[in-house]
Amino acid sequence: MSAPGYEIVPYRPEFAEAVARLHSTLNPLDDPLLSARYLQWKYEENPWLPERLMYVALCDGEPVAMRGAFGSLWEMGPDLQVLPCLADLVVAPEHRDRGLFTQIMRPLTAALIDRGFPYALNLSAAPVTAMAGLAQGFKSIASVDQWGGGGIRPPTSRTRLFQRIDLEDEPGPDAMAALIEEIGGVGPVRHRRDHAFFSWRYRNPLSRYRFLHSRNRFTGRLDGYLVVMDRDDDVVWIMDWEARDTRIAGDLLDAALRVAGPRYLLGWTFGIAESYRQLLVSRGFEQSAQGFGVENMGIRVMAKSLAGARLHYPDSNTPSIFSAGNWDYRLVYADCF
């Protein structure tokens, strides 16, 4: 049942301009053209679900609220699963608290079930969205751990005979994918980080990324990387961080501290490897205290089982997506940066 005056419809290209205007309230520059490019990148150019899977609430024919689901590819133990991630919830201020969130979610959820997805994810639910998600049958898997540090001058790394670190503006998807293929990850539930992911993910037009690549001086082989998101403000975000060994990982973290300079370096994670946690602690990083209750719930990772989906659910040997202990979560998986 729609509230009087509202019509909930699937996204259509003729809404593009109005939807970009609506979305621009979320983007840091409040720029509809930038939002239009962002939505094009996130949905139509998505490698796994290349369509604008989005529902829009119309009032007098004008979009006043929206919610989308973009594609992602997950490793769940030995299985690969394309899963939709809910994102881009906007309700124009004058239309809030009229049940539009629930009304948009109904046909969107039905569309996800119709496409056969077993689960839907929300990878960075802020408190209000998280509570609304719980009411829609989402389960909270975990709140992300936020690590922060910086404003220090790390000791200059000892000259490494075999390694060099380059700061670059391009990701180098082939080498990054090859490294991940070789070293794997921590938990059995994680986003597939392959060539398609690295090529697509870092084209987000709302963010500017810088890539620290640790390479063997002689062979040029990529032995580690650390990606930061830098919008030239007070905080630099660690998007992803991988290395062949802890020494290389430590050098990359020191290089990131130098890139951040006097600014704060922040990262979100859960399921981080103990060796990486120790590296953060040794450089003075602190984990934000986990609060209790609704007010201090932080950013949540949530999932919903889409009962009635046509495709098979992963079998009983597949690690459960609802168990936080199975996850290897990084900021690069979330869509907010």
Binding site: G99, F101, T102, A130, M131, L134, A135, G293, V294, E295
Partner: protein, 82 residues
């Protein structure tokens, strides 16, 4: 004031816009009457009522808070009164 009546009294102070007066058995969650900001306000109020933080990992809002009566029962249970 009964448990459900105090829930209704609180709901009327939230930012939610209800098309008709709320009764003890009005479906507020599955109907979508309460979502986003007002639902968040309700959860903070429930925490105040029970004097303890909610455990989000075990919360089933659609089942436990679907009507003002259900919310009142949830609060009573959490206080150990049922």
């Amino acid at each position: 004031m009964s448990g459900a009546a105090s829930v209704i009294a609180f709901l009327e102070t939230t930012s939610a816009q209800f098309p008709a007066p709320i009764a003890a058995d009005t479906v507020i969650i599955e109907s979508g009457l309460l979502d986003s900001q007002a639902l968040f306000q309700l959860s903070l109020w429930i925490e105040d009522q029970i004097g303890a933080p909610l455990s989000l990992e075990s919360l089933d809002i659609a089942a436990d808070w679907n009507t003002p009566e259900a919310v009142a029962r949830f609060i009573a249970r959490a206080r150990g009164q049922l």
